[in-house]
């Protein structure tokens, strides 16, 4: 295969996908060209439409092609609960895996002081405006547990509390089916300090 051919170009383009190396990219290309040109056309069209038309929800910042996402529009969700997450993928995970029925706010990242990611990148002003509408009774912080993510949670908790709104944070601790001796000391400390009444 020579450089600069369309095939080579397609292989390189596919490698922007996570987990796709040169070999698997090549396999995909030969599959589409050899066996599924219709599928390839549909993929190309959908991909283009998605890249052009999907933006962020005006209220919660998750991905949507409308002004407001389905979750923000839905009448059946509790508007007094707001769950703050890092990514649209987190929204999907919580929706799929739990019975949480409130609204979301997506930061699209986390504070990373040494890499120049500050509150301005995380839609903090938008979040504050949302809190100031007066509809929200509780903010649930569902960011991860790395130091930067804890700093993010801490930062948000401060201004939520200032507004007299309850702040809670998802529990950190021993994984289901896990044994204590394999849990690292940091996680164990969190699990112990965040212990709950046995029910």
């Amino acid at each position: 295969m020579t450089d600069n051919t369309l095939i080579e170009h397609l292989v390189t383009s596919l490698r922007c996908l996570p987990g796709v190396g040169p070999k698997s990219a090549q396999r995909m290309v030969y599959h589409l060209l050899g066996r599924d040109r219709d599928g390839g056309r549909i993929l190309a069209n959908t991909l283009r439409a998605a890249m052009d038309d999907i933006g962020n929800c005006r209220l919660c910042r998750t991905f949507t092609e409308s002004e407001l996402c389905a979750l923000c529009v839905s009448e059946s969700r509790d508007p007094s609960l707001l769950c703050v997450v890092e990514t649209p993928a987190n929204v999907a995970a919580i929706n799929r895996g739990t019975d949480y029925n409130g609204r979301f706010f997506v930061l699209l990242g986390h504070l990373s002081p040494l890499d120049g990611v500050g509150p301005g990148h995380l839609g903090i002003d938008q979040l504050k405006k949302r809190l100031d509408t007066g509809d929200i009774r509780e903010v649930i912080l569902a960011t991860g547990s790395t130091v930067e993510r804890q700093a993010t949670a801490h930062y948000i908790a401060e201004f939520v509390r200032e507004r007299g709104i309850l702040v809670s944070r998802i529990a950190l601790g021993v994984p289901l089916g896990g044994e204590l001796e394999f849990v690292d000391s940091g996680t164990l400390a969190h699990a112990l300090s965040g212990r709950g009444e046995y029910r």
Binding site: P18, P113, V117, P119
Partner: protein
């Protein structure tokens, strides 16, 4: 110093880390004996027991590595449970000290004293009332360790001991000179400070809001001279 192989575990802290290639991390570590080192943690973000959760800033670790050149390959990383892990809730100051080390220490330049000072400052940051004095002491000691130690008890012009009630003006590269109220040369480094603050900073006995405020302003001005033009990211972000 040529560190080609480092088979023993060395006490260390992670100063910063960022994703590297698809599953790895690039770690800037500060170690007890080898100073600052750049380490590639291969596959740290994936695998059965990913290393990424261990490689967190502010957590006492034991690390070993191999390789040569500018970047080494991390071979072992485990939490150092023999040392109490500082609990830093408001991590602002923690990131600030990390950034100072990243900006002021060169790689592969051992500074065991600063390692101990770093451990101390992390311990004191979360203690109510100790954060500010601890930061000033750390800044002062760090400057001394990289060869820019301050002479805080002597007038640089007359050689006389610094006196509590007098005012002194900071002159970059020279030290502190008694301020007679003469029109001061304007510029970034024009700063005066009371003798009492200089003495307390030297003896590491800073106390009271006025002294702490003066010392903070002073150290910020001095550090700006060594950090160069780029502002500190950890300071800018929260404004």
């Amino acid at each position: 110093m040529n560190v080609n192989h480092h088979p023993t575990l060395e006490p260390a802290f992670v100063l910063n880390r960022r994703p590297y290639r698809e599953t790895s991390l690039l770690v800037e570590a500060f170690t007890a004996k080898s100073g600052r080192v750049g380490l590639v943690a291969k596959g740290a973000r994936r695998g059965k027991i990913p290393l990424a959760p261990v490689l967190e800033p502010f957590r006492p670790l034991l690390l070993s590595w191999r390789g040569s050149g500018e970047l080494f390959t991390l071979t072992v990383a485990e939490p150092d449970d023999s040392v109490c892990s500082p609990r830093i809730w408001s991590v602002k100051s923690g990131f600030y000290v990390n950034e100072l080390l990243l900006r002021l220490l060169r790689r592969h330049d051992p500074s065991p004293d600063i390692f101990e000072d770093y451990r101390q400052v992390l311990k004191r940051i979360p203690v109510p009332g100790q954060e500010e004095p601890a930061l000033r002491i750390f800044e002062k000691r760090l400057l001394a360790a990289i060869g820019y130690g301050l002479s805080l008890d002597q007038d640089a012009e007359t050689g006389r001991p610094v006196e509590h009630e007098k005012s002194y003006r900071y002159q970059p590269g020279r030290g502190f000179v008694e301020d007679h109220g003469a029109p001061c040369i304007s510029g970034d480094f024009a700063i005066t400070v009371r003798g009492g603050t200089l003495i307390a900073l030297g003896r590491e006995t800073l106390q009271g809001s006025e002294q702490l405020r003066e010392a903070k302003h002073l150290m910020r001005t001095i550090l700006r001279g060594y950090l160069g033009e780029a502002p500190l990211a950890s300071r800018m972000l929260y404004r």
